[in-house]
C-alpha cells in the first residue's frame, strides 16, 4: 500500500449525507476478481444517465474538479455494505483523502487498509469547506503528520486520528506481516481456547 502524508489538491464537494456503498460502487461492478479497475465505475448512476452519457450536473463531471484527490462529503459516509470495492473505486479514481463529519465503521476500516486517509472534522467545519468549494474551486493541503487541513485562504482545521492507523498510513505497512510477529501469542491462545466437542 502507498504511504500517505501530504496531499494538496482542489476539493470535490459532494454535499450529501449517508452516501452509501451501493452509490459509491453499484452491484453490477462487483463481479470482478481483481482489486483494480473500479475507478471508472465510481458513483456510476450519479455520473451517467441510462444511456451512459455524462450527467453534467454531477460534481465529478465538472471540469473545475478534475484531478482532485480530496473528496468532501456529509455525515455517515460509506454506510451500507462491507464491499471493499468502494474504497478501491475511490482510490482508483484518484482520491487519497475523504473529509466528512463521520464515516460508517466498516468503510472507515477499509480506507486504512488501502492507503486512503479518512479525515473527520466537525460538522460546521465540513459545512464551511463545502460552501467554499461549491462557490469556486477551493484547494486545501492535508497533512497527516501534523493532522491538519489548511485551506488556500489560510483556514486551518485540526483532526484526530487513531495513532495505530496513522503509523500504518504514513509507512504504508502490510498489516498481515506485522501480525505474523505475534505468532507465538496466537499459538498460545489457540492452546487454551474454549472448544466443546
Amino acid at each position: 500500500m502507498e504511504p500517505i502524508n501530504i496531499v494538496k489538491s482542489v476539493i470535490t464537494p459532494l454535499d450529501r449525507k449517508n452516501v452509501d456503498t451501493d452509490q459509491i460502487i453499484s452491484k453490477e461492478f462487483l463481479k470482478r476478481i481483481e482489486r483494480t479497475g473500479f475507478g471508472k465505475y465510481l458513483f456510476y448512476h450519479w455520473r451517467y444517465d441510462e444511456n451512459g452519457n455524462e450527467n453534467p450536473d454531477f460534481v465529478l463531471n465538472k471540469p473545475e474538479y478534475k484531478g482532485s484527490q480530496i473528496l468532501v462529503a456529509q455525515d455517515n459516509f460509506g454506510c451500507g455494505s462491507s464491499r471493499e470495492h468502494a474504497p478501491w473505486a475511490i482510490l482508483d479514481y484518484g482520491f487519497r483523502v475523504i473529509i466528512a463529519p463521520s464515516f460508517a465503521d466498516i468503510f472507515h476500516n477499509n480506507c486504512f487498509k488501502n492507503g486512503i486517509l479518512p479525515v473527520k472534522l466537525k460538522e460546521e467545519e465540513v459545512d464551511e469547506i463545502l460552501a467554499k468549494g461549491l462557490q469556486k474551486p477551493y484547494t486545501v493541503e492535508v497533512n497527516l503528520t501534523e493532522q491538519t487541513v489548511t485551506g488556500e485562504d489560510g483556514a486551518v482545521y485540526h483532526f484526530n486520528i487513531d495513532p495505530y492507523y496513522k503509523e500504518m498510513l504514513l509507512n504504508g505497512w502490510d498489516e498481515i506481516a506485522l501480525t505474523f510477529k505475534y505468532e507465538d501469542k496466537i499459538k498460545a491462545y489457540e492452546e487454551k481456547r474454549i472448544v466443546f466437542k
Partner: protein, 470 residues
C-alpha cells in the same frame, strides 16, 4: 463486577493487548462467499501465504447464484467469480457449499441452520449483515476484503473496542406486528447513524419473547443502524435451537449450554449508552425513502419538507421523493406496487415463509403484480415444500425460486426495472439497490404478502383479523 455480554466475549478473545494499539482478537468462525473473497485469496497467493485454520472457515455461494435454473449462469463474469471460489476452496482446503449442495444458501441463513453459529463465538464474514449471527449471543461483524485476507492468514483481527449500547424494547408487541417492524421502528426513530462506533445489545421483554428466527431479523439490520454489531444474550431458546444441529457440540452439549448461558449480560451491568422504546407503540412499518430510516407506520404519511428543520434534511427528503416518485404528505396506503420480493438474509427463513403463506392462502396476487419467493437456503426450501408452502404460493400466483440473495441486491437476473416499485422483505432501500432506478419499500413478510394481494400497501392486521374470525 457486573459485565455485559459484549465485554465478556471481547475480553475472552484478546490474543494481544498493548498501549496505543487496537486489541488483537481471535476469530472463531470465518464465513466466506464468492463476492468479497477472490481478491483476498489472490493476496495470499501473491505473498505465498497459507490459510491458517481452514477448519474454522466455511464457504458458500449466494450473491450471484441464479434462482430459476441454478445450473445456468448466463453472466460469464459471475460464473468466473463462482468458479474462482471453487478453486480457492479446493486449493486452501476450505469446506464449500456451492451451487446444488444441500447446505447452500445465504451465508447468514446457513450459519445458524448448520449450528456453526454459537454463543460466545467471534464470527466474521466479508459481508455487513454478519451481525445476524448476534441473535445467538455471538460477537459477529462484517469486514472488508483486506480483513478477510488478514483472518485467512492469521485467524485474528486488530480491532478497537467499540462502545456498548443497550436498546431496551419494553412491553409486548401488538397483534400482527413483527420483529421487522421493531427494527425498522428503531432505525426510523434514531436514524441510520444511531449505532456508529457501537455494538448494540437488544434487551427487554419484547426481545425475550421473540423466536430465534425473529431475533436474527433484528440483529441482521444492526448495520442499517450503523452499528458494528448487534446481539442478544443467549437463553433457553438459543440452547434449544442449537441442540442437535450438525456443527453444534455433541458429547459436551450440556457443558457448552451451561457456558453459553453464563455469557448473558449480568444483572446490573452497564453500557455506554441506553435507548428505550415501547413495543406496544410500534405499528407495521413501511419505508418510503432511500435509506432504512425513512419509514413510518402503515397508518402514516410520507413527510413534508416542513417536517424538517435543516436545509440538508429538506434537500435529502426532496431527493428521496424524486427518486421514489412520491408526493409529500401522501398516505402510505395509497402507494401502489408492481413487485413483491419475499427473501434475503433478513426475512427468508421458514417462519417468514409460513407467515406470508398464511396470508396469501386461498387468495390471488393482484393483476399487474409480479411476486417472487426466494427461500434463504436449500434446506429452508425443502422444509417449506414438505409443508406444502410452495403450492400455496404458486396457486396464489407467486414464483417459487431456489435459494440465494436474488433481488435483495440484484446481482443475478432478479432485478426490479427502473421506475417500478417493490415491496421487499430485504434490508436496504438505497437508490438502485434492486436495480438501476428501482424503488424499494422495506416491509415485513406479512406486509409484503398483503401488498401482493392488494397491489398496494395495506394494514396486514385487518387481514389477520379476518382470518381469526373465519
Amino acid at each position: 463486577m457486573a459485565k455485559n455480554i459484549i465485554e465478556k466475549i471481547w475480553e475472552s478473545h484478546v490474543v494481544h493487548r498493548e498501549e496505543g494499539k487496537p486489541d488483537l482478537l481471535y476469530i472463531d468462525l470465518h464465513l466466506i462467499h464468492e463476492v468479497t473473497s477472490p481478491q483476498a485469496f489472490e493476496g495470499l497467493r501473491l505473498a505465498g501465504r497459507k490459510v491458517r485454520r481452514p477448519d474454522l472457515c466455511f464457504a458458500t455461494m449466494d450473491h450471484n447464484v441464479p434462482t430459476k435454473d441454478i445450473y445456468t449462469v448466463n453472466d460469464p463474469i459471475a460464473k468466473k467469480q463462482m468458479s474462482t471460489l471453487e478453486k480457492n476452496c479446493a486449493e486452501f482446503g476450505i469446506q464449500l457449499a456451492g451451487i446444488g449442495h444441500p447446505d447452500q444458501g445465504i451465508v447468514h441463513v446457513i450459519g445458524p441452520e448448520l449450528g456453526l453459529t454459537q454463543p460466545g463465538k467471534t464470527i466474521v464474514c466479508g459481508d455487513s449483515h454478519t451481525s445476524t449471527h448476534g441473535a445467538f449471543g455471538a460477537l459477529a461483524f462484517g469486514i472488508g476484503t483486506s480483513e478477510v485476507e488478514h483472518v485467512l492468514s492469521t485467524q485474528t483481527l486488530w480491532q478497537n473496542k467499540p462502545k456498548t449500547m443497550e436498546i431496551r424494547v419494553n412491553g409486548k408487541l401488538g397483534f400482527g406486528v413483527t420483529a421487522k417492524d421493531i427494527i425498522l421502528a428503531i432505525i426510523a426513530k434514531w436514524g441510520v447513524g444511531l449505532g456508529t462506533g457501537y455494538i448494540i445489545e437488544y434487551t427487554g421483554e419484547a426481545i425475550r419473547n421473540l423466536s430465534m428466527e425473529e431475533r436474527m431479523t433484528i440483529c441482521n439490520m444492526s448495520i442499517e443502524a450503523g452499528a458494528k454489531a448487534g446481539l442478544i444474550s443467549p437463553d433457553e431458546k438459543t440452547v434449544e435451537f442449537l441442540r442437535g444441529r450438525r456443527f453444534a457440540p455433541k458429547e459436551e452439549f450440556d457443558k457448552a449450554a451451561e457456558y453459553w448461558l453464563s455469557l448473558a449480560s449480568d444483572p446490573g451491568c452497564t453500557y455506554d449508552k441506553v435507548l428505550e422504546i415501547d413495543a406496544s407503540e410500534i405499528e407495521p412499518y413501511v419505508t418510503w425513502g432511500t435509506n432504512p430510516s425513512m419509514g413510518t407506520g402503515i397508518s402514516g404519511r410520507v413527510p413534508t419538507v416542513d417536517d424538517y428543520e435543516s436545509e440538508t434534511d429538506k434537500q435529502a427528503l426532496r431527493k428521496a421523493l424524486e427518486y421514489m416518485g412520491l408526493e409529500e404528505g401522501q398516505p402510505i396506503t395509497s402507494i401502489e406496487i408492481q413487485h413483491v420480493f419475499i427473501g434475503s438474509c433478513t426475512n427468508s427463513r421458514l417462519s417468514d415463509l409460513r407467515t406470508a403463506a398464511q396470508i396469501v392462502k386461498g387468495r390471488k396476487v393482484a393483476p399487474g403484480v409480479r411476486a417472487i419467493v426466494v427461500p434463504g437456503s436449500y434446506s429452508v426450501k425443502k422444509a417449506a415444500e414438505e409443508e406444502g408452502l410452495d403450492k400455496i404460493f404458486i396457486e396464489a400466483g407467486f414464483e417459487w425460486r431456489n435459494s440465494g440473495c436474488s433481488a435483495c441486491l440484484g446481482m443475478n437476473e432478479d432485478i426490479i426495472p427502473s421506475g417500478e416499485r417493490c415491496a421487499s422483505t430485504s434490508n436496504r432501500n438505497f437508490e438502485g439497490r434492486q436495480g438501476a432506478g428501482a424503488r424499494t419499500h422495506l416491509v415485513s413478510p406479512a406486509m409484503a404478502a398483503a401488498a401482493a394481494i392488494e397491489g398496494r400497501f395495506v394494514d396486514v392486521r385487518n387481514y389477520l383479523k379476518q382470518e381469526q374470525q373465519a
